[in-house]
Symmetry: C2
Subunit: 390 residues, 2 copies
C-alpha cells in the first residue's frame, strides 16, 4: 500500500462480503487513474492565470466547445456550446433547478419507481409534493400521466422528473414514439421536464437509445454527467437547455452570480481528457465491463431465481429490476437474508409501494460475487417458501 | 500567447479601462498557477482508484485531516476534522443551507449593508424574507438586532447571515466582545447563525481578527473558502460546524446521499497544495498585495476625495467603503461617471438604502489604475458640485 493509499479517500469502501448488490457505484476497474493523469497534464500546461479566476457562469467557453463536440459525435446531432451549462453533476443540477423553479410544497411528478435519492432531494430537502406516475417497459406510462395532469391541472406540476434512458432502477428506456408524445403532453399541459440522462451513453452492443429529451421539446432540460462515463469524483455534469427562457433563469440566478462557474479547475481537467481523446475509449471500456457484468448477473438470476422472480434483461445502464412472484416481498427477504445487500423496491416509490420488486446493481462486482450474492438471496427465498408451505 | 491562452477561460476579462473598481476578484498576480501545479503533482501520484469514487459525504478523511491541521495553525485553536464539511465554496454552502433549513418565505436576518449577491441568493433564488440589521464599525448593531428579535420573535428568523470579519462591503470586523454578546442573543432568541468568513485570514500586518463565530456558539456555522486564499476556480470551501444536530442535517440530506462528497478530485488537488506547505506562503503573498493595494487606494481616496467622502481604512479584506458627504449620492455619480466602475451602496441593501455609500475594491488593480479611477470619480463629484452651486 503506497502512502497515498493511506490518505483515506473513502470510508465507504465496498467490501467483498457482504456482496453489496445495493451499490450503484462504478467498480474499481472502471475508475481510470491513467485518464485522470491526461487531464492533469493538460491543466499543468495552462499558462493563463485566468483559469484560476471565478470563471464564466455556464462553464468556460473552451470547455463547453469541447464538450459540445464530444456530445455531437455521440448523439450525431448538433450541440451548441451555448446550450450547455456546467453543473456539479446531476445532483447539483437537480438542487439548482429546485431552488430556482419551485417553492415549498410545489408539486413534482416522478416515475414510480424512480431514483430513490431524487425522492429524498425533492421531499426531504426541498419539501416538494411528490406525485408518482407508473412506469412501463417502454418508459413512463403516458396515459397515467395524462390522467394525473387532467386531475391536477390546477396548479399542475412544476416539473416532471424522469430518467428516460436505462432508467434507475428499472433500466427501461422511453421509446422514440413515447418521447414524441411526452413532448406533446408537456406543451398541452404546460409543464417542464427535468431529464436525468446519466446512463444515456451506457448502451450495450448496438442498443443505442433515442436522443436526449431536450431534442424532443424545449421544455426539457437534459442533464448529463461524467460520474458514470468517467468518474464520480469529478462531480461534474451539464445541462443541455434549448429554451432561452429556462437558460436565462439559470444564468441570472443569485447563486451563479455569486459563485462564478461551477469548478473551473475540474472543467479544465475534463477538458484535457476530452482533448486527449480518452473519453470515448473509456466509455467503450465501461460499456464492455457493464455489458459483461449484466450478462453474468442476469445468468445467475435466471439460473438460480427463475422460480421466484421475473425480469427483463437490460440493454444498458447499471441495474437489474426483479419482480418477485407472489407471495414474495423484498421486505420479507430483507428480514433474514445474509451476506448480500440489495435495494428493496419500496425505496424507489414515493408512496412506499413496489415491495414486490428489488434492484440489483451489476456495476461494482463481477461473476463470482454475483453467483454468491444471488445464491444468498435464493437461500432466503427457499427459507420463506418452506415457511409458507409449513 | 500560447495555445492554452486561446481556450477562453473567462469571457469576464477585467480590462485596464474602464478601471473596474467594482470587481471583487483577486488580481492576476494573486492567481498561483505554480501552486496549482503542486496540487496536480500530488494527485498525479495517487495510486488508489477510490480517489475517483463518489467519496465521503463531508469530504474525504485525508483531506479534512489536512485542512483541520492547516486551520489549527491559523487559528491557534483545536479544529476537529469531524467538524469540517467540504462545500462548493461559500455560495455552495449558502444554497445548501437554505435548501435544508428554510422554506419559501422564511425570514433571514442580514446586515445592512451586506454582500449583495447573498441578497440575491436569499431573495431571488430561495424567495426568503430578508430583514436587515444595521452595521456599525465594530460589526453588527446588536441593540438593533435585539429590537428586531423582540419584534419578530414569532416566528423569528430561520438564521442570521453575517460576515463577521472584514465584512463585504464595509471591511468592518465584529469585535470579540460583540461576538460573545451575539452568541448569547442566539441562545436567548433561539436562532442559528451562518457566518461567511471568506476574509478571515486576510488581515494586514498584525491585525489578526477574533476567532470564527463557531468558536463562540454552536449555533453558528462558520463558512470558509479557498476562493480568496488560493483561487476562486477551485470552487471549494468548508463549513466548520460544532453542533452535532446541525451537522447531522447536512450529513443526512438527500443531496449529499445522492452526490457523495463535493468534488473529491478538487479536494485532492487542494490536499496536495496544503501538504506541499504552499498555502501559507500564498496567503502571505496575497496579504502583502492586498495590504499594499489597500494603502495605495486609501491614499488616493484621501488625497483626491477628502472633500467628498469619509471612510475607515480597513485592516484586512478586499474593500473600501466610502461614505459620501451630503448632498452626494452614488446613483448621482453613476449617472455621469466615465471610465471607472464601482458598486453603489444601494446594491448592498435589501431595501435599496445606502445610496450615500459606495464600495471600491482594491483586490484587482494597483497604484496607477487606482489613481486614474479615483480621479474619474473626483471629476464626476466636481461636476455635481458645480451643478449644485449653479
Amino acid at each position: 500500500m503506497s502512502s497515498a493509499d493511506a490518505e483515506k479517500y473513502g470510508q465507504y469502501e465496498v467490501p467483498q462480503r457482504p456482496v453489496k448488490l445495493s451499490v450503484g457505484q462504478p467498480g474499481l476497474n472502471m475508475l481510470p487513474l491513467d485518464i485522470l493523469q491526461k487531464g492533469l497534464q493538460y491543466v499543468n500546461s495552462v499558462t493563463d492565470p485566468r483559469l484560476l479566476q471565478y470563471g464564466d457562469i455556464p462553464g468556460y467557453g473552451g470547455f463547453r466547445t469541447s464538450l459540445a463536440s464530444f456530445l455531437e459525435v455521440e448523439y450525431k446531432e448538433k450541440v451548441e456550446p451555448e446550450q450547455l451549462f456546467v453543473t456539479h453533476g446531476v445532483t447539483g443540477a437537480l438542487a439548482f433547478y429546485c431552488s430556482l423553479f419551485t417553492t415549498t410544497g410545489s408539486t413534482v411528478f416522478v416515475e414510480e419507481p424512480t431514483y430513490f435519492l431524487a425522492i429524498n432531494i425533492f421531499k426531504q430537502d426541498f419539501r416538494l409534493n411528490v406525485v408518482s406516475i407508473p412506469m412501463t417497459p417502454t418508459g413512463l406510462d403516458l396515459e397515467a400521466l395524462e390522467k394525473a395532469l387532467v386531475h391536477d391541472k390546477a396548479p399542475g406540476p412544476k416539473f416532471l422528473y424522469t430518467i428516460p434512458t436505462f432508467h434507475n432502477p428499472t433500466s427501461y428506456t422511453l421509446s422514440h414514439e413515447k418521447r414524441v408524445a411526452l413532448a406533446k403532453l408537456a406543451d398541452t399541459y404546460n409543464f417542464n421536464i427535468v431529464a436525468d440522462e446519466v446512463y444515456q451513453m451506457l448502451y450495450f452492443d448496438s442498443a443505442k437509445p433515442p436522443l436526449p429529451l431536450c431534442y424532443y421539446t424545449d421544455r426539457a432540460v437534459s442533464i448529463g454527467s461524467f460520474s458514470k462515463i468517467l468518474a464520480p469524483a469529478f462531480r461534474l455534469g451539464w445541462m443541455q437547455i434549448r429554451s432561452k427562457e429556462i437558460l436565462d433563469v439559470f444564468l441570472k440566478s443569485g447563486q451563479m452570480d455569486s459563485s462564478g462557474g461551477n469548478s473551473p479547475v475540474t472543467q479544465a481537467i475534463v477538458h484535457g481528457i476530452i482533448k486527449s481523446n480518452s473519453l470515448f475509449d473509456n466509455i467503450e471500456k465501461d460499456k464492455t465491463v457493464l455489458s459483461s457484468n449484466c450478462k453474468e448477473l442476469s445468468n445467475e438470476v435466471t439460473t438460480q431465481l427463475s422460480k421466484y422472480v421475473e425480469f427483463i434483461e437490460p440493454s444498458g445502464g447499471y441495474f437489474l429490476w426483479l419482480k418477485l412472484k407472489e407471495p414474495y416481498t423484498a421486505s420479507k427477504i430483507l428480514e433474514g437474508v445474509e451476506d448480500v445487500t440489495f435495494v428493496a423496491g419500496t425505496r424507489f416509490s414515493a408512496y412506499g409501494s413496489c415491495d414486490d420488486y428489488l434492484r440489483l446493481s451489476f456495476s461494482y462486482y463481477s461473476k463470482e460475487d454475483f453467483a454468491y450474492g444471488v445464491g444468498q438471496i435464493k437461500k432466503r427465498l427457499e427459507a420463506i417458501e418452506a415457511e409458507n408451505t409449513k
